[in-house]
Amino acid sequence: MAVDRDPMIDPQKLSFARAALSRRTALTGLAAVGAAGLLTACGTPGKSPSAPSASKTPLVAPDLSDTEKVINWSNWPAYMDVDGGKHPTLDAFTKQTGIKVKYNEDYNDNDEFFAKVRPLLESGKDTGRDVWCSTDWMVARLKRLGYLLPLDKANIPNAANLVDTLINVEFDPGRMYSLPWQSGFAGIAYNPKSTGGKTVSTMDQLLHDPALKGKVTLLTEMRDSVGLVLMEQGVSLASVTAEQFAAAIQVIADAKNSGQIKGFTGNDYTKPLASGDTAACVAWTGDVVQLRLDSPSLGFVLPEKGFTLWSDNFVIPAMAQHKKNAEKLMNYYYDPAVMAQVEAYVNYIAPVKGTKEALVKTDPTMANNDLIFPSDATLARAQVFRGLSAEEETSFTRQFQALVTG
């Protein structure tokens, strides 16, 4: 210890330090004895490993909706209409119902958000949120873990406006726990400036064309990146097997090891794509529609062999305090006229019937954009990644993450 040898420290101070040190030594001894016991105590208790996970029931908190006219809503960034720093549709909702919406754009990533709320949900505590928008597979996981409350459709008569194709989804048949907020496709985007004017129309080209070498990004969303490769190999996403998945992973791994792929990204692929640092990438429709406003030359291709369709869905977490208010909010956005206002800004695919008809009146060009209001022929080629069991999810994610961080 330095204090002993330092002549500058006067003896009084020294006695201080020593008194503390001797106590600290005692504490250390205690800690060493208790260490093993403490380690044992740190496990996640209260759950038997053999308990079947399907039987979990969510905890319900008393609904304060009638006395507290508020909703806490967590959503993805840039996923709401904006006008001069305000959200016109939210303000109109408050005016109509007297319910104030605390709108937080703190949902940046399914996994990160899950990590944030899981400890609270797991210990049966209120997350401080009444509603948020999770992607399909995350809804499946939340539901499986018993973290979601069933929706009371009596409060959401407009739910009847949900488009037919999204009613009986595999992870939530009949939409008992979730309602889509926005949908979108994952396809291939490219910047002609960096591809030498070339069109990039298949995953095979994206992963092997020497002209794109080192200028390709894929998405960290496993189901989109791997899904596109699987469909190119003729595999149906509704019935993908472990072998097929592993084969697709191998294709991506080869491309990565050859230096074709420079990275895996979240929403942040947009800037390099627009600047040309990224020549081509897997991208989401709404982003590209928005990017094209500034860089009209950007290309976007929905591959012939198929592309992924995903939705981000309203869900109400266990212990939510304002469930009825949240249901009223869903009902409000399932009015096609309101959804059309949102759509005009976010440019994704609306899950509400009649939105196109409502938008034609105000913005006919947008209403005729096949990426925002896809035709039946386009929709027929879209596929949804099948629900995965807990074991499959772990195994698939592990393989994919070995690529992303390998």
């Binding site: 330095a2 009084q12 260490a35 740190c42 996970s53 990275g263 993450q401």
Partner: protein, 304 residues
Amino acid sequence: MALAVPGARPARRRAARRRGTFTPLLLLAPAMLWLTIFFVIPTFSLASQSLQTGDIDNGFVLTWHFQTYSDALGRYWPQFLRSLIFAGSATLITLIVGYPLAWFIAHRSGRFKTMLLVLVIAPFFTNFLIRTLAWITILTDNGLVTGFFRATGLINVLRWLGLVGNDTLLYSPFAVIAGLAYNFLPFMVLPLYTSLERMDMRLLDAAGDLYANGWHTFWKVIWPLSLPGVVSGTLLTFIPAAGDYINSKLLGNTQTTMIGQVIDAQFLRVLDYPTAAALSFILMATIIVMVGVYVRAAGTEELV
């Protein structure tokens, strides 16, 4: 630890009693509490987690599964090694850049001293992420920096060193190391400045009087006296840089993954908490050992 000088003990006891037995404890309490809540308990929790098995559906149970450690190390040793190399390179660069800068600020900047110090700290007023993202713009393919490296042929040197893959600077080991060096530069400059600033300048005159040339003066006088600053500067840079994952995530490619990114992915995406905890522990242990060896070798344990 040469704590016990038996004869002195009663006197010390009396001194402690005179001041109130609990005073030293009370004074230590906030720091101890802080350490306990934010270091000791999390460390035990992490240690426990690293030895558990299970998954999020069925919960995790402590099974003393030490194999997680060997599995994790077997699978991710390249990322470990890379993290140490990247962090080491960045530390070396900050030292080479920071030393003259700290010297200049301490002894040659005159009335601009305060302003220059503020400038060194100024980047901290901007968010860490924003600062790193700015490097994407700086190193962009058609930007000035890349143009300069191409025109001077320096890019070929970098390629020969394996620091870039093709004729672009972004998304390469070069970009990651540059980002790390930039982000941690102030942590190097400030301790260096502190130890250089309080150096007695008459020692340099004395060295000159004894016929030491510039190099000898630096190597025999300035450098040894600045060692405390060098040691704390390198530690403050190396330790966080080794665990950093933002720079490699934003400025690197799929071949520049650092261990922080792996831990992040295991914790948040794979949800394999034991592996993530084991990796965190291995990183911690590696750094502690390296720092221990380094501090001992530098012979400055009293000065850090």
